[in-house]
Assembly symmetry: C2
Homo-oligomer: 189 residues x 2
């Protein structure tokens, strides 16, 4: 079983073995849901392969994509997972995925006993926090074309498999606008 993912966690060998025992493997086909709006999210996923998309409906009923997550990262509806309240968002497989799942109670049990696992949790959150910070501070207010170019750099894999309209809503622009940007970029060479 893919050790690359696990070594990236920074857990000492002994702790890692114990942690792994709480994981269960899960496969998702493209289009299947990992989390459905309205249900509390019981599991946190560690992505081994594939990409997931987080989205919710706005007040007009349109889907707004808010996250793409790939290999080596944790994925869940943060709000729902930490509060154990119903999720206001859904998470769908953009491609076929292999996940490792850990349940909320199992994770809490580890947190209560293991300092190292808390350190890991803290670091994962620090990164998540800094990523959101960066997006909020440096990306969200750029003109549409610049946002798309940023996306191509940061999510080169997602670009290949996600729908144009999901990429558009992720960047806060309309599909028509993104389509026009793509045409303009392809004309430029």
């Amino acid at each position: 079983m893919s050790n690359k993912i696990f070594n990236g966690l920074g857990l000492p060998q002994e702790e890692l073995i114990v942690f792994k025992e709480s994981l269960s493997a899960r496969q998702l086909k493209k289009g299947e849901y990992f989390i459905t709006e309205g249900q509390a999210s019981v599991h946190l996923a560690l992505i081994e392969s594939g990409y997931l998309r987080t989205f919710h409906l706005d007040n007009k009923g349109d889907e707004i994509t808010t996250e793409f997550n790939g290999p080596g990262t944790f994925c869940s509806s943060y709000h729902s997972f930490y509060s154990q309240l119903p999720s206001y968002e859904s998470i769908e497989a953009v491609t076929d995925c292999n996940l490792f799942l850990i349940s909320f109670p199992a994770l809490q049990k580890h947190y209560a006993h293991s300092l190292q696992l808390n350190v890991m949790g803290r670091k994962v959150l620090e990164k998540a926090c800094m990523d959101r910070d960066y997006f909020l501070k440096r990306v969200i207010h750029l003109p549409a074309k610049d946002k798309y170019e940023w996306f191509l750099k940061v999510y080169p894999e997602v670009y290949k498999s996600a729908r144009l309209r999901d990429i558009a809503s992720f960047l806060g622009i309309k599909p028509e606008t993104l389509s026009r940007i793509r045409r303009k970029l392809s004309l430029n060479q």
Copy 2:
């Protein structure tokens, strides 16, 4: 010394006493800087009273305010504090402030020994992460007027002391636009 702030941290009494020994008090007058762009941020602040504003300069040289922090919360340039690299943002007192500071090495020492402190650190980050998530997912793309009304609800205190232009850049709109929104809202009754 203000116990309300400390009891909110969820540390058991013994740990709290040890933690407090690493803190030093600091006062800031309105307008004074806590963190200056370009310098590594050595301290994390726990705010006892007052409000702080985090901002950076965009490529046109305009200030972009990205955070307001108030009593009971931790404040620092996250990126700089966790990486110990020079900060790309500054933090300024919006009102007179009373802070408790802890240095990076002191915090790391506590983290290495105390499970409870790790739990606290993780929970603070979970909240910070969820707040950013919410802002990014549910607020940033609202029309200007709705964003301002959200701000009034969530930051009623900041509204009283912060400059209009800082609130505007925080919401990603121009001061002229916010001024017009305020007029419209005041006409509506």
